[in-house]
Amino acid sequence: MPDFILTPITALGHATPEVDIIGPWTITERADVALASLAVRRGRLGDLQAAAAGAGVPLPAAGAAAQGMPYSSFWMTPEMWMVEAPFASHEDIRAHLLPAFGDAASITEQTDAWVRFDLAGADLPRLFERLCNFDLAKAPAGAATRTVMEHLGCYLIKRTDSLVTVYGPRSSAQSLHHALVVAAQSVL
């Protein structure tokens, strides 16, 4: 058995995540989250809900996200959620979830399909109105939506008025990051 370990890099290509502070806003790359999609097998919603309750996986309604420990999640599409968990404890998140859900769910690892940026600070709507058509000001905390930024399909989660998470396609991490920074400097 080979005796080596592979060392990961972040989506922006560094050993450690990048943090940018622009005016009132902090843009933080997050590499410490494991992701898996959780989809209901046909006719198994009840079983899945029961299993989720047991495993402590929240199943928020359409357009919403729910925080928990260790599992948080947000709604993706009918009968499918994205489950978030701490990378340190749940890197192989699918292996953690499979036993709980058995054949009631289709579970797929999504951790590295995405790059995550957390944007923190006051007056975030003023920033996001340059980035996407989502009405952030009107949305309640806990709102989660798919939207387009810089031609990229992203997930946007309004954690609080002063904290927004953006998940974008990992391969375009640099383009998305550039768009966030340029917008912040422009609105600043």
């Binding site: 993706m76 939506t145 798919r146 939207t147």
Partner: protein, 94 residues
């Protein structure tokens, strides 16, 4: 345009990909239908000037396929349904 997604509410049509006439739901069965059946299904359209039932895919959203009833003269949208529900109602299953 704004499409009122049955689950997600108003969404900019730019998030969607357009396919065409909702008659595309009614695909014939390949083991029994004739070439002419498939020709009519694949190629012929009513193309009305007025109410038009059409398929839109929320590609930059929740990936739902929708059946949108839209007036092609005014672009007014009269009804939006989940295509899966419509398909089942039209008797499609497996």
């Amino acid at each position: 345009m704004i499409i009122h997604h049955p689950i997600l509410g108003p969404r900019d049509a730019q998030e969607f990909v357009y396919l065409g006439d909702a008659s595309l739901i009614g695909r014939p069965d390949g083991l029994t239908a004739s070439i002419e059946d498939f020709h009519n299904y694949t190629y012929l359209r009513d193309n009305p000037a007025g109410a038009h039932r059409e398929l839109w895919y929320h590609e930059q959203g929740d990936r739902s396929w929708l059946v949108v009833t839209r007036n092609t003269l005014t672009h007014e949208i009269l009804q939006v349904e989940l295509a899966r529900d419509v398909a089942r109602a039209e008797g499609r299953s497996k």
